[in-house]
């Protein structure tokens, strides 16, 4: 997960130990730097051979290992980590600004003061990046409070792909914000799996007295895990306007085509869902398989067109 550079790690390792004079267990160093213990050993061994010009016994970095902890005895002048590079400060500060602008993310004062301190530590002023109205839905705060309450809830939800409204009991997990919309991620007791509910499509919500137990997941395997292979498989060719599909939906296969389109294979709940899904892509998706879905899409579109025929 953490893609870091070895040189940067070595330059951090010495001040890391300097700032923890009581010593740090090897396993903790490994965890903090996101590498394994063998790598920490190799890093420490290399640092041992580095030092100040002269490179005699008193010039080299000196590190003491014992059974439980690693300590630095001589840091060769590397007591502090390197200043944040511009791109590092930017990545963190922009993320903090997004958090500061997201409803329900707790302590805004702390986010603001952390931003100020980071800017001071970055050396140069980070590029100006403004973040505003990350979530347009004003009720997102209410659902953040629901998640924080730790209670289950009964919701009335409009499903766009089914074009129906239904009532269900859910165990909230978290709020996820993406592309301007806020979603309630929850265990859906009706579906028996984790679902994301777009908050502006929740028509009613009642907090229940019972606790939210999304962890019921761990007690029983998620049905989708073993059913996935039995769900209908569809294959689509996506044009420029529909390529986002492969980012937003889990796909089993994604491949580029010579004509610039994208070939994706995905599992769907059922073919009627898939029909509505493909229709909603506005002709930017061509159904390769199954033929049944291709025919259903064409037929629905042909029926709809027939209604315009007198005018056309």
């Amino acid at each position: 997960m953490m893609v870091t550079n070895r040189l940067a790690r070595l330059l951090n390792l010495v001040p890391y130990l300097v700032s923890r004079p009581e010593g740090v267990p090897m396993s903790e160093i490994a965890a903090d730097f996101g590498v394994d213990v063998e790598q920490v050993q190799a890093d420490l061994t290399m640092l041992w051979m580095c030092g100040l010009p002269g490179y005699g016994p008193g010039d080299l970095i000196d590190i003491a290992f014992d059974a439980d902890a690693v300590r630095v005895l001589f840091a060769a002048g590397m007591d502090r980590p390197v200043r944040l590079a511009a791109h590092e400060a930017l990545a963190l500060s922009v993320a903090l600004r997004v958090l500061a602008d997201t409803p329900g993310v707790g302590d805004r004062a702390a986010i603001a003061s952390a931003l100020d301190k980071l800017a001071a530590a970055a050396g140069e002023a980070p590029a100006d990046v403004t973040v505003r109205d990350t979530v347009t839905d004003p009720t997102a705060e209410k659902y953040a409070a629901l998640v924080a309450s730790g209670h289950a809830a009964r919701i009335t939800y409009y499903s766009a792909h089914r074009d129906t409204t239904s009532e269900r009991v859910v165990d909230p997990i978290e709020i996820v914000v993406a592309e301007g919309h806020a979603y309630l991620r929850a265990w859906c007791r009706t579906a028996g799996e984790i679902r994301q509910f777009r908050i502006d499509r929740i028509d009613a919500c009642t907090e229940l007295d019972e606790p939210s137990e999304p962890l019921r997941l761990t007690n029983q395997p998620a049905p989708t895990a073993f059913l996935a292979s039995e769900l209908p498989r569809i294959e689509l060719l996506l044009g420029a306007g529909a390529k986002g599909v492969s980012d937003s939906y889990p796909c089993e296969e994604v491949a580029g085509e010579p004509d610039g389109r994208r070939r994706v294979v995905m599992r769907v709940r059922d073919l009627d869902w898939a029909r509505r899904f493909v229709l909603g892509l506005g002709g930017e998706a061509e159904v390769v398989a199954p033929a049944e879905l291709r025919d259903a899409v064409r037929q629905t579109a042909a029926f709809a067109l027939a209604r315009y025929a007198p005018a056309a």
Binding site: P15, S19, P53, V129, R294, A301
Partner: protein, 326 residues
Amino acid sequence: MSNDRTERLVNLVLCLLSSRRFQTAGRIARTVPGYEHDSEDKKAHEAFQRKFERDKAELRRIGIPLQSGNDFLADGEPGYRIARSDFELPQIEFTDAEAAAVAAAARLWQQPELQSGSAEALLKLRAAGIDVESHAATATVKSLPGAEAALSPFFEAIAVRRAVVFDYLGSRDGSAQQRRIQPWGCAAWRGRWYVAGLDLDRDAQRCFRLSRISGKVRLTGPEGAYAIPEDVDVLAFASESESRLMPVRATVMVRPKRAWGVRRRADQIGPRTAEGDQVCFSYTETAPTAAWLASFGPDVLVVDPPELVKETVACLQALAAEEGDE
């Protein structure tokens, strides 16, 4: 990176930090292990110079500020040093709440370069003695601004004032067109990322939605190619570029007890006619609205305005007759 090179670079940093004087390349070659060579041998010396250039570039890349200048003893030959005050992370302390915010922020990015940028920053903070991760409360909200893939090239270009080239699908374009701009700044508005700048081909200020960029954003031309005008307000550009899309009223006919999605969005339903219930709602962008209406198939008949009817029919034709035009 090879072990030898990593070791050489650590020694180079320690050497340049250890003295306030500028050290010439020749002196560095004689001092730092890994650079030894016969400076009389032209080939060996050139190899050293290339190696030293690459090493300097690597140090700059990870944020180590190398100063170059002349040492009064070195007879005009340029030398190098690292000023401790520029090199070291200043003293920084976080409260538990601030550390938790920083930890949550570092986990926000999906895009690899921004992810590793935050990860590297966290390591440095940790090396300064801050236990960032241990304060990481489980946040109830995860925020994922969309389409961030193009962000880091823009950040990089803006930092060094370089122009960029990318393919862009404007709201009125049928296919992506190449655009060349001098970017000024980025903003996230309503969960979408925007970049504003000078469009070099149109010689005019323009604002672009990052999610409409297809393919890679490439930096082009020299650094320092332009100055960013003062008081650029990217957010104002972004909201203005979207507000040119004035809301339009649509009228559609919806079959009884069908197309609940359209009914939910309606501000007026009825009267009922032979064609279905008359439903009115407002929209701003024709293409996505038409695609959405087409998804209801024969349950929805678009009546007004004419461009929405035309676009919906075009979607349906594409969907009905794939074979014909492929």
